[in-house]
């Protein structure tokens, strides 16, 4: 289904990803945007950054990005901070 998935992991088992440290079912479509939609993040959401396996996914690249079994996705936002 997904070019990056490893057949030895068993395609029949439900695939999962880790979103902000929490294990969740991978989107059936394999699309990053569908995963983000489950937590209310769309391309219009201001002040949010997405990292996929420790690499930044620029907003323009969200639509074309795919997530596969075991991928780690982080949703980051500005919080109160100083020095």
């Amino acid at each position: 289904m997904n070019g990056r998935s490893d057949p030895s992991r068993g395609e029949l088992r439900a695939a999962w990803v880790v979103l902000n440290g929490e294990r969740r079912p991978a989107p059936a479509t394999g699309l990053l945007t569908d995963l983000l939609a489950t937590v209310g993040v769309t391309s219009d959401t201001p002040a949010v950054a997405i990292a996929l396996n420790g690499r930044v996914v620029p907003r323009a690249g969200w639509a074309a990005s795919r997530v596969a079994q075991g991928d780690v996705i982080d949703v980051l936002r500005p919080i109160q901070g100083g020095t």
Binding site: A47, A49, A51, V56, D74, L76, P78, I79, Q80
Partner: protein, 266 residues
């Protein structure tokens, strides 16, 4: 209060207030917003963290930008250049700003900067088009190196982060100011209003502070005091202070005094 003709430039961004104020450790978000307003700042720092989306109808970004504050993301909590570079990229992505307050911390008891990692991260981020504002120790040599690498300003500490100890080595800040051409922003360690005034009297271009306001008994009042101190210190610097002397120099003339022993002349 701040003078209209005394703007300072941070990487092409003209700013009237010479205070950059952090957003952490206030008693509440409301107090934070009121204190930021009272300080007169135009630029506020934020950190970037994983936050579960959809948990709240309010977010910090909206609250700050609705009041017209510009946002300076930091890399607080980063201990390596790699860590800091990733955080900077995420911040640019989230906030759409090339500005980054670069912190690479060496150890968690002193929170002093790790200079080796800092120089490394500065080099990478400048190459990748960031406007890098590195938090550094008060060492003139390091400051010069950072300028040579293309930092947009240097941010020497006054004292360790959150210590409130004030300016521990004013001479080094003077040396830094005299040796680099980019803005010098005193970052960390300020404890109260007079510390801010001294930083400006030394010729520093701006002061970044957080706990001195947030942890005061009355943060909003302290923010106002610090705003006055910044203006006072800056104006004193521009006015040019008198020379310091070892011995007194009378301010009233000796001539024309009355003679207490005056007697009738016969």
């Amino acid at each position: 209060m701040e003078s209209r003709d005394d703007l300072w430039m941070l990487a092409g961004l003209p700013l009237r207030s010479r205070l950059i104020v952090g957003t952490a450790r206030y008693p509440s978000v409301s107090v934070m917003l009121d204190a930021l307003e009272a300080s007169g700042t135009e630029l506020t720092t934020v950190a970037l963290r994983r936050v579960s989306p959809g948990s709240s109808q309010e977010n910090l970004y909206d609250l700050l930008t609705a009041r017209g504050f510009r946002i300076l993301p930091n890399t607080a909590g980063c201990y390596t250049a790699k860590d800091a570079v990733l955080t900077a990229h995420l911040a640019r992505e989230a906030l759409g700003t090339p500005l980054i307050k670069l912190e690479v911390i060496a150890d968690d008891e002193t929170l002093l900067p790790d200079i080796v990692q800092l120089l490394d991260a500065t080099r990478s981020l400048v190459r990748e088009g960031f406007t890098v504002l590195p938090y550094t120790n008060d060492d003139p040599v390091t400051a010069k190196r950072l300028e040579d690498l293309g930092a947009a300003a240097v941010m020497p500490l006054a004292a360790p982060i959150g210590s409130g100890l004030g300016i521990r080595n004013p001479h080094n800040l003077t040396l830094i100011r005299s040796r680099v051409r980019i803005p010098v922003i005193v970052d960390a360690g300020v404890g109260t209003a007079s510390d801010v005034a001294i930083a400006f009297e030394l010729g520093c271009d701006a002061v970044l502070l957080n706990s001195a306001i947030a942890r005061a008994q009355e943060p909003v009042r302290m923010a106002r005091a610090i705003r006055h101190a910044a203006v006072a210190g800056r104006q004193a610097f521009l006015a040019g202070r008198m020379p310091q002397r070892l011995l007194a120099d009378p301010t009233s003339p000796m001539a024309g005094r009355i003679d207490p022993n005056a007697a009738p002349i016969s």
